[in-house]
């Protein structure tokens, strides 16, 4: 027995050390006077450097301690669901309106009350019942090689199902939330049957079996594997300003086309946040939303992360601006949550890997 005692003591010591750390946090969270808390707990899918910096600034400005738990949106939703009223989370942040809609449908959120802050955000990029608001958005666009392709060949998302695009389309897996949201928007715009036909046509036209992320699709355009890549706008901004010179080269050869400009507009998706139903630090959560939407933070999102700011009073960054103004698909983003499960199953059935 003697020999393992040191091990047990050591590991128990390490563990209690960890517990202690945690308890300090817990004690402060259990002071239940809703107004005076000094803490904010965030479940987030986003953790760009810009988010980390803004959170640090928020802490400095308000004296509130922010605790962050970062994981995939689906895992976090599952966590909120299982934790129920015991959840420590106050804010749920994700990069997909469909997930925000799902959080609302699962009764995991509560409405945001600060009308003044909500008014900064156009109604089409926040929830109609105020259960969540976006803080940035981006468009899902076509990227093509400036030197090779004349943009007059492009028109709409629907057009990409036409056989003339055979072997030319690059897009990542349908397991990706951006594509799931795009499919959901197609269902909302054209109905289920037509969306199914569109997926079928798109799959038949793919240049290769879907793989990699959005940057990989753009690189494949320049490599000549396909002619058009469906990607999010900010990835182009990030490639143009990449640490890797070879990526910058790729970024500079690409141009952007905004589809469906003559019709309903280009599909967008958001980074957004909502206050959890069982939040114990509602005041701080509201404060945080206000902070993320203020002009200073908003211009940093667009200047450092090449996103479109949700605050209508903030100008977009130069690189982003150079892509041109565009008409946004006015389908309320709140509707995406309803179609996204159906759309995902449909994509499986039609072989969009």
């Amino acid at each position: 027995m003697k020999k393992i005692i040191p091990f047990i003591v050591l590991s128990a010591g390490l563990l209690t050390g960890c517990f202690k750390n945690k308890e300090e946090v817990k004690v402060s969270s259990e002071t239940k006077t809703p107004k005076a808390t000094k803490e904010l707990n965030i479940y987030t899918q986003r953790n760009y450097d810009i988010d980390k910096e803004l959170i640090a600034e928020f802490e400095k400005e308000t004296g509130v301690t922010v605790n962050v738990s970062k994981a995939g949106a689906d895992e976090l939703l599952k966590k909120l669901e299982i934790e129920g009223k015991d959840t420590p989370a106050d804010l749920f942040i994700t990069t997909d309106a469909a997930r925000l809609g799902r959080a609302k449908d699962l009764d995991l959120l509560q409405p945001i009350k600060d009308k003044e802050v909500l008014d900064l955000v156009p109604a089409n990029i926040r929830d109609k019942d105020n259960y969540w608001t976006s803080f940035t958005y981006r468009a899902r666009i076509f990227a093509y090689n400036k030197a090779k392709t004349d943009p007059s060949v492009f028109s709409t998302y629907e057009d990409l199902a036409d056989p003339k695009w055979k072997g030319k389309i690059l897009v990542r897996s349908s397991t990706n939330s951006y594509n799931q949201a795009l499919i959901a928007s197609m269902i909302a715009a054209n109905g289920e049957e037509s969306a199914r036909k569109w997926i079928r046509g798109l799959v038949a036209n793919m240049a290769r079996s879907p793989k990699g992320n959005d940057r990989d699709q753009s690189k494949a355009v320049i490599a000549g594997i396909g002619e058009v890549a469906i990607i999010n706008t900010y990835y182009l901004g990030k490639m143009i300003h990449s640490a890797d010179p070879e990526e910058r080269k790729v970024g500079e050869q690409l141009a952007i086309f905004f589809p469906n400009q003559d019709g309903r507009g280009t599909h967008i998706n958001v980074s957004g946040m909502g206050i959890t139903k069982y939040s114990k630090n509602i005041i701080n959560a509201e404060k945080f939303i206000k902070f993320y939407l203020n002009e200073k933070s908003q211009s940093r999102f667009t200047n450092e992360n090449y996103e479109y700011p949700s605050n209508k009073n903030v100008a977009v960054n130069g690189t982003v601006k150079s892509w041109g103004d565009f008409k946004i698909d006015d389908l309320t983003l709140s509707e995406l949550g309803k179609n996204f499960r159906k759309g995902t199953i449909m994509a499986d059935e039609e072989g969009w890997k």
Binding site: L14, K22, K78, I82, S209, G212, E349
Partner: protein
């Protein structure tokens, strides 16, 4: 039932080793069982959808990956282990360590690195384009790439286990074969391989279980397997029933594999009969043969270690400025401390259960020991959610307040479930080698089970116990999906740190946490090797 057999039964039932093992197994299985209880609603629509559309693909891909990775890791692991056991040549000592190093690199990081190397902006295509003006389109992001990476980063499991078996082999059998006129090659195929069969299948079983539960690499490469399917069904489609159905199929597969492995071990009984084993006299290779041996052994080290490390280092130069701060040191400390705690506890439990199963010939202990190792084949995210659900239940019903939930205890607990198999396999092979002779001798001479355990068994299997701890440690620092879900607020490990950059499509930034992770792995491996050396002396 007569009185004597009743007494014997009681004896078995009251045995403290068995008792402790049952309690431990109960707690380790509870979270998994908790998940199955949510099957009640029996909504099978999604499962039907999956069976029709995706299941054939999951089965095909998982099967092909397991089959070929198993095959290739066997070829590489066994051949290199044999060369290093039998021959002495220049650099053979360094190569001996080098061959284990790929184990320090998590397969998902290997995935980012190789897709980076082969991408359009990667080193190969860019050289071809910028220097030779030739447009080269390479692609590793497919099932072949997955098999390639699993092979070159997991073969060390087969290598380590087979090598330690070879080293312990009684020389007399080899000599007999030689005396009877067999060549080296013939001896290898007709004497050594059949003898080493159990060690080899043990290593391959570990590889296959790891491959079946791996999520990061196949999902990044867009290859649909059981593991990615479970994740998608459960979390994206939100269908627990269908996901659990998939998990049951996967576990069925794994049980079959374990069963076959057990069967193949069944008739063996080659434990050594004295404590001193004659070491094999290594044959000095001629210069020409040395070169061949070095080249042969360098291939896996090159693909599994040197190439990925060089790519990571070149990315490090692009991004190092962003990492020099005290927070990063905290991340390293977190990774290290949680892995040490997890490794020690996992190993202690593995020793207890393994010893019980060895001492008890009964069915119960055998079944328990197999059940508790099932976690290795269950995707980490599934275990994480099982553990969460279980402890929220315990907190609510028993303590009426938060006690366990949200603490690091959950993470360590989940690691134990996930990696008990790794520690167990190593400990069990230690017990296998010493057999029951010394234990029986000690018991005949009057020591009890527990005293024998501490005075006789443990000193003899010390090497295997340390080996178990080190392997578990390596697994834990590399673990990702479970850590992501269960970690408390603000708790970062090197693997979650590197993962978040990849998620944000900033692969270059993931290089530094990855490199530090790999360095810790290397230090641990070298430490492991030094201990092994000492043990042999």
């Amino acid at each position: 039932m007569n009185l004597r057999s009743l007494k014997r039964n009681l004896n078995i039932n009251l045995d403290s080793w068995l008792f402790i093992s049952i309690i431990l197994s109960f707690f380790l299985l509870a979270p998994i069982v908790t998940l199955f209880t949510s099957l009640a609603s029996q909504n099978i629509d999604t499962f039907i959808h999956i069976s029709k559309t995706l299941l054939p693909e999951y089965i095909k891909n998982s099967f092909l990956i397991a089959l070929f990775t198993g095959l290739f890791t066997m070829v590489i692991g066994v051949s290199t282990a044999w060369i290093l056991t039998m021959y002495e040549f220049k650099f053979s000592k360094i190569i001996n360590v080098g061959l284990i190093l790929p184990l320090a690199i998590p397969t998902y990081i290997a995935g980012y690195v190789y897709s980076g190397i082969f991408s359009y902006t990667g080193i190969i295509s860019r050289t071809a384009r910028n220097i030779f003006g030739y447009n080269l389109n390479l692609d590793v992001m497919n099932i072949y790439g997955v098999i390639f990476i699993f092979t070159f980063f997991l073969y060390p499991y087969v290598f380590i286990i087979t090598r330690s078996f070879f080293a312990k082999q009684s020389l007399s059998m080899l000599e007999s074969a030689k005396v009877l006129g067999k060549s080296d090659t013939q001896t290898f195929f007709f004497v050594v391989l059949p003898l080493a069969r159990t060690a080899i299948t043990g290593g391959i079983t570990l590889v296959i279980m790891e491959v079946l539960s791996a999520f990061g690499l196949p999902s990044y490469f867009g290859v649909q397997t059981f593991s990615t399917g479970i994740f998608r069904t459960w979390l994206t489609l939100g269908d627990t029933d269908a996901a659990i159905n998939l998990a049951i199929i996967l576990m069925g597969l794994v049980f079959t594999i374990i069963f076959i492995e057990k069967k193949s071990r069944g008739r063996r009984n080659y434990s050594f009969s004295n404590t001193k084993i004659r070491p094999i006299n290594k044959k000095q290779l001629s210069n020409k043969h040395s070169v061949i041996a070095i080249i042969f052994c360098m291939v896996p080290i090159l693909f599994g270690f040197i190439i990925p490390l060089m790519q990571l280092i070149s990315w490090t130069f692009m991004t190092y400025k962003d990492f020099i701060n005290y927070k990063f040191i905290k991340v390293i400390w977190n990774t290290f401390s949680i892995a040490i705690a997890g490794a020690i506890l996992t190993t202690i439990i593995a020793v207890i259960i393994s010893n019980t199963s060895r001492l008890k010939k009964g069915k119960i202990s055998k079944i328990l020991s197999k059940l508790t190792t099932i976690g290795y084949s269950i995707p980490g995210a599934v275990i994480a959610i099982g553990v969460m659900t279980f402890f929220i239940f315990v907190d609510r019903k028993i303590f009426k307040q938060k006690v366990f939930y949200g603490t690091l205890f959950l993470m360590v607990f989940a690691y134990i479930i996930r990696y008990l198999a790794v520690a167990y396999n190593s400990v069990e092979s230690g017990f296998d080698k010493i057999g029951m002779k010394f234990n029986e001798a000690s018991r005949t001479l009057g020591y009890g089970k527990t005293k024998t355990f501490f005075k006789v068994d443990i000193p003899m299997i010390k090497g295997s116990v340390i080996g178990a701890m080190i392997l578990t440690f390596l697994e834990i620092i590399k673990e990702l999906p479970l850590t992501l879900i269960l970690r408390p607020f603000n708790f970062q490990t090197l693997s979650t740190y590197s993962k978040q950059y990849v998620d944000d499509e900033m692969v270059q930034h993931s290089a530094i946490p990855s490199i530090v992770l790999i360095l810790i792995g290397i230090i641990i491996i070298v430490f492991f090797e030094t201990i092994n050396k000492k043990k042999e002396k």
